[in-house]
Symmetry: C2
Subunit: 410 residues, 2 copies
């Protein structure tokens, strides 16, 4: 029998399904499973001591203020720090261009709340970040998927799909989740030109930009956009909203992200956030500020890079050594993920079932496609497991694939 | 010139206005203003030492786990504690009936996301909590306002308005924000009967229930509903969703609230929360658990009650001593607020303008009415200012009112 509340779900809840990722995360909690599912940072690199000192300092110095309600916009010194860090390389960002959010998932939710009408189309990469689709499904968004290759959005596909009139273009230019692909400088410029030409704004999501393991840093879309407008130091007021987070550099558990946008857009987002959760935890913001300050963040990111680079290299080496022919993968220059493409006939869900029996897990790629394709793809995370377990896990996965491929031979 | 993003706000943002409360909070930050606006707890009663110990303990014992991603549902020991506390007095609540939220504002937002279709009517008290209207305006809710008196919802008005077919009934039975009114036991039973008769579920919002300064504790609607269904210890699966928070008992800055609901409803809310902010801060939840444990919460609430009782008494005494005839107020038995009714001809916005000049602030009542009435009402907060400042503030306000009333005389 249904309860009175359960009879009354809104239309939008029909599109809220418990995601494949989430169900899988439950399985991967078993300690004997080697998990390439999830997107968890390595707990070994969390700056636990520095956080412990930070909490001590904040409670000793601020006391009751750290436990009181705060401003919806965020803790002023933290907004100042982010504005200053964002103002590198030819762009002028002031604190009132910054909104602190409860993780960058909340930034995606607030963007949906403020900009998406039911039925609005959003242009997304194929594949794209699952969490963004989950956030915007709640606002009854529709999607138009443009093709990507190893350099990101393919301009010809963008040109074709942009004529459907998307509300905005969603882009993850650095070490994309799920594919690990990085948008080249040329492609970044091309996307900005196309967006400008058709008058479509861009939402740039950059959780992993700091985690580059090789090659040169590429400027974010928001910086390129600012430079092309050459406002001579005027405040940024262009075509790009930029999102980032401390989840991959300091701690995901404290739930701290931010939005950089024109000040009038920030004001609207602040109003939406006020009705959503009033503000992000005061003490978390104060502690993140203390932890990141005095150059610690930049130093700490170097440690993370070294650890993750080794894990990426281990995974790539194991794939080369053990995987059967007919399966391809991306070679990410940073981030947390790489992307497998199985033969056309192979379904990643079947691979996962076999893999779970062999105590290894990953995420089938289908949930990352807004257009329902991608059945023969999969995402592997390399940040959370040790190199030894990565090697062993890839071996187990290779054995599953060999068995499935042998069984399929006539 | 508008930026490309600013040209693209969704329809729902038209209803997001920067609230009167928010604009006023800015003015009341000036240190020489005595503020009865806002709803801030007294910082003097925050258990700063206990929180400092809690952070130390959590970082020392859990370390990296406290900084890692957590489950969307919330930290298990905290859910268990809340389930156990909620299971007092004839109701069986298990941990999977509990969802931890980022403050109870997020609970209101998630309820809107999961249950409200554009144009749905929600029955609210006149007046009702402004933050709930802000949360649900984002989902394009409409409202039907039923009358209240000093005992809460008036059954005759509920009977009349419930025929419009509201999606649910929103009720704040204890020391309501903004009016300070408490729903009597008789009225609680009447509301449950009416809701049951018409098949309309109830959302019970109870942030202040622990802060009673006189009289006996009255059972929450959710408990009365459970008892009337007499399931003999079966899991609660009734007509009421119950919300509460640590914001008024431990700290609002850590942003921790919770929802108690039938397990299937919690599952739907979990999916919505996953797309909204993934989960609430891991370390905040762990610390709140450590702070509340071992009976500390119940002991600490006694201290808060003593402090706020004195402030309420001071405010009531000052109103009696200084306020001109023709103005009435409620006499709350708990909570943080009382409610003024000026003469019909008087507009609270005019009073506020005069008050700000005299360095005293409050919130005009109009924003708490979903039906656009209430121009001659105002909310006074008595938790945040010291008794000395409360007395002085009421005196200043009385002088403003006398001047306005004298000027209006023929």
């Amino acid at each position: 029998m249904q309860t009175p509340w359960a009879e009354r779900y809104a239309q939008r809840t029909r599109r809220m399904r418990s995601s494949a990722v989430r169900e899988l995360l439950k399985l991967t909690e078993l300690p004997d499973v080697i998990s390439f599912a999830g997107g968890l940072p390595a707990p070994e690199v969390f700056p636990v001591e520095r956080f412990a000192e930070g909490f001590n300092k904040v409670m000793a110095e601020f006391g009751a203020r750290a436990l009181q309600y705060g401003r919806t916009e965020g803790y002023t010194p933290l907004r100042e720090m982010i504005a200053e860090r964002s103002s590198r390389y030819g762009i002028n960002i002031e604190p009132d261009n910054v909104l602190i959010t409860s993780g960058s998932q909340q930034a995606l939710d607030l963007i949906g709340k403020v900009f998406v009408n039911p039925g609005d189309h959003i242009m997304v990469e194929r594949p794209t970040y699952l969490g963004a689709l989950q956030a915007w499904n709640a606002y009854q968004a529709e999607y138009v998927s443009a093709d990507t290759d190893v350099d990101g959005y393919v301009p010809a596909s963008v040109a074709e799909k942009i004529r459907t009139g998307p509300k905005f273009i969603y882009a993850l230019p650095n070490f994309q989740n799920p594919s690990g692909v990085t948008m080249s400088l040329e492609r970044r410029k091309a996307l900005l030109e196309q967006a400008d030409h058709y008058g479509v704004p861009i939402l740039e999501d950059d959780p992993y930009g700091q985690l580059r393991y090789e090659g040169d840093h590429l400027p974010p879309l928001v910086n390129l956009d600012a430079q092309s407008r050459s406002h001579n130091g005027a405040r940024y007021s262009g075509n790009v909203i930029y999102l980032s987070t401390f989840s991959k550099t300091l701690s995901p558990g404290v739930r701290l992200g931010w939005i950089v946008a024109p000040a009038e857009v920030i004001q609207k987002l602040v109003q939406a956030k006020q009705g959503t959760d009033l503000h992000t935890s005061t003490v978390s913001q104060m502690v993140a500020y203390e932890v990141a300050a005095e150059g610690f963040l930049d130093q700490h990111v170097k440690i993370i890079r070294a650890v993750y680079r080794e894990r990426r290299d281990t995974m790539l080496a194991a794939l080369r050594a053990h995987f059967p022919a007919g399966i391809t993968w991306t070679e990410p220059r940073g981030g947390l993920f790489l992307w497998l493409t199985f033969p056309e006939w192979m379904n990643a869900n079947d691979v996962l079932k076999a893999a779970i029996e062999q105590k290894v897990a990953f995420v089938p790629g289908e949930s990352f496609f807004a257009d329902g394709t991608g059945q023969n793809t999969a995402r592997l995370n390399f940040s959370n497991a040790t190199p030894e377990r990565i090697d062993e896990g890839v071996k187990r996965l290779a054995r599953c694939l060999e068995v499935l491929m042998a069984a399929a031979r006539p």
